[in-house]
Each structure stands twice: as C-alpha cells, then as structure tokens.
Symmetry: C2
Subunit: 231 residues, 2 copies
C-alpha cells in the first residue's frame, strides 16, 4: 500500500522505516523540501540530520505535504502538535478526502518551558480538532502514548502493555488495527476507546508520561491497563 | 494513630473501614452532622445510606470538618473535587497546621453532563490548589487513580499495578508510603512522581479512567507502568 507520512522527525522516520520493511511504499511529506534537505541538525536521540537519513534510504520518497497527501492511500500525521493543523491545511482537503489519517501527534506546548503543557485538553483535543478540520477524512488517533521506537516494536518493553486507538469510523479502525498487528501489537492489547473524543483521554496521558520519562531518565516504558473481576 | 477523614462517600467509608481494621482511631468529618444523618439515599454501589452505615460502626466517630481536622494526627481528603476547598476552609487552618493531609480527590466537573471533565487541569491541579490554600499542611496526593475498594485492597486486581503519590514533603511521603504498605501496596509498585505538581499528571488520568470504566462496565482495573531497558 502507498502510505504518506507527514513529518520528518523521529516518529515519521521510525514509522517510515517500519512501513518500508513491511513492504509498503512510503512518501514523507514536509513543508519545504529544500529547507528539510538543508538542515544539518541531528535528532534528539543522536541520529543524523534528515538529509543523511533520507540519502541512505533511496526507497523512501520525499515530497511536500500535498505530494504526500496525494500519494498515500493511507496517511499518517507524525508532526509536532503545533505543526499539525497548519500542515494538514497545506496538504489539501481534496488530496485526503475519504482516506484514513492516523494521528500520532500530541498537543504539546513548549512555550512556557519544560515540562511542556497541552495547548488543548480536557474538553477538546488535537485529534478532534483535526477531525473537525477534515470532516471527510477518517481520523484514527493511536500510538501517541509511547516513544517512536516502541510504536513499531512493542517487544522493546517486555510483557503486556497497551496501545490505545479511537476514531469515528469503524472500518478505518479495523484498517489501523491490521497495521498495528503488523507492527507487533497483539489484538488483545489494543484498546479501542470509541469515537474521536477518546483522543482527549490519551493526549492527557502525556503529562504523566513526560514525568515518568524524567523520573526513569529514559522513554522505554508503556502503560498497561490491568483488569480485575467485576465484582 | 488518630485519623480524620473528610467526606462521607464511598471513598471515605472504604478508607475508614480499612483504617479501623488496621487499629487506627477514625473520625469522619462532614459539613453538617444532622443533615448527614438525615439523608436516606444510598451510595452509587448500592450500599446503605450513611446513617445506617455509621450506626453499624459505633467505633467510627462522626464530627464536623473542624472536629475531624482537630482530631486527626493524619488527615485524609476523601471529598468530591468541588467540595474539597470549601470543606478544607471550614476545617480550619489552625486545626491542620503541620499535619499530613492525604488528598484522594479529583477535580471532576459534572456541570456539563457525562462524562465529567476536570475543573482544573494541565497547568494546575486540585492537589496544588489545596497545597496553596494550606501552605503549612503537608499535602500528599495519592490513591486518586482507582476505585475506593481497590485503594485499600490492591489484590482485587491481580498482578502488578501502581499507586502514584506526590507531594512537597519527603517525610510526609514516607508516612503515606507506610500506610499504603499496610493497605497492601508493595513498595516497588508505588511510584513517587515528585513534588505536588505531579498531582496534575495523576488527576489527568481521570478522563481515560472514566472512559475505561464505561468500556469495561466496571471500575475494577488499574494502570501499570511497564518499564523496558534504557536502550
């Protein structure tokens, strides 16, 4: 399947590598191709600049947001929270109409220092904002509660732990679950939180996620919902 | 030890029973004793009205908020979120000065229908508001991420799962950990999230907790943070 990924950060790269390994055709979309290929800063995990990363991967295409939106039969938003809505507007509604958009982003607000807060929460969410902006797109929020490596390799954390998903379209969620299975997620560890308003509940996990990261000094952990007997 | 509990709901009652079982002396504080003993509505789990519950427990005292505040060497806020600050004001700062106050409440706002949202979140929390209101009290936020029965009996959910705590005073947290151990929580399953600002991160678990409750149709579950290797 042809997959368009918005975002050239850790999450976009990690998903792109995994999707190519799974024999999908991948195009990464960025705001300005020239600028993206000019930047020489590495990523936060000590990886090389994007231009080197993409040079080593001739099988992965690079385009504008609109190119990736047109190209993908399935789309993934792997942008920063603040970058998501402007980028998706640039990508063009017509290019995305009717497609599934996996939203992995989180509404992190770094403007008031560390740790970041959320620029939308509680009574709304970034997932919902994206769905409202793109009513003809089938937004599925998932994978936003863990680090980029764990998303595509759940075995990096041993034992049972969950991936949450939510969205308004049942067929779209089935498509996403199929992909999650390919990433290594067992069906019984996927928790469907219902419609897209569930996005506010998973985005609101970020504050405790960030605090645990600070405490553990590494991001290789995940949440498991342990269920007892009704009563 | 003498323990004062604010609140006559499920959480207050569950904690009172357990603390008595652990040979503590317990006084429950309420806004208006006469009204509390007049009410004939049961609790949400089908339990009897408070007046019947307390009649069966002559060993548990009932007083005003101020009585319970004076009585307790250790205090517990088991009130509703919206009731917490007004009640703690009534309890009287002088009665609480220097004491440990375990805050189990959540800032749930039912005013806009179900599911409730949070009336404070993201950049502040109810735990922090209480600490600011009572600067001479050692507030420890804990147990607010699970149902009342599980708080005092972690084995109701099998396997490993966590209780979070946070607060500004290290000695107070040690006191609370000791109590949590008596409730059945293993030390290694307690996660200290640091100072009282951690309260916003656990209070923000409520939205997903409530959604999981709706999905599972029962509240007997808990979160476990599963940790992998650093790298």
């Amino acid at each position: 399947m042809k997959i368009g990924i918005f975002g050239t950060g850790m999450v976009g790269k990690s998903l792109a590598d995994k999707l190519f390994e799974l024999e999908h055709d991948v195009m990464i979309g960025t705001r300005d191709i020239a600028k993206t290929l000019y930047r020489s800063d590495g990523d936060i995990y000590g990886g090389p600049p994007f231009k080197e990363w993409i040079r080593e991967r001739p099988h992965i295409q690079l385009g504008t947001f609109a190119d990736a939106a047109k190209y993908g039969e399935l789309l993934i938003n792997a942008l920063s929270g603040s970058g998501s809505l402007p980028a998706l507007k640039k990508a063009g509604k017509a290019n995305m109409r009717g497609k599934v958009l996996i939203d992995v982003s989180n509404p992190l607000d770094f403007s008031t220092g560390m740790p970041p807060t959320l620029f939308v929460s509680n009574t709304d969410s970034l997932g919902e904002k994206i769905q409202r902006e793109l009513p003809r797109v089938k937004v599925v929020k998932t994978l936003n509660t863990m680090n980029a490596y764990l998303m595509v390799n759940p075995e990096l954390v041993p034992g049972e732990h969950n991936v949450f998903l939510c969205g308004n379209d049942e067929e779209a969620k089935k498509t996403v679950k199929k992909l999650l299975r390919k990433f290594g997620w067992k069906e019984k560890l996927m928790i469907d939180l219902g419609d897209i308003t569930g996005a506010r509940t998973t985005e609101m996990l970020l504050p405790i996620w960030l605090r645990l990261w600070g405490k553990l000094q590494h991001p290789m952990f995940n949440f498991n919902v342990v269920v007892g007997r009704k009563g």
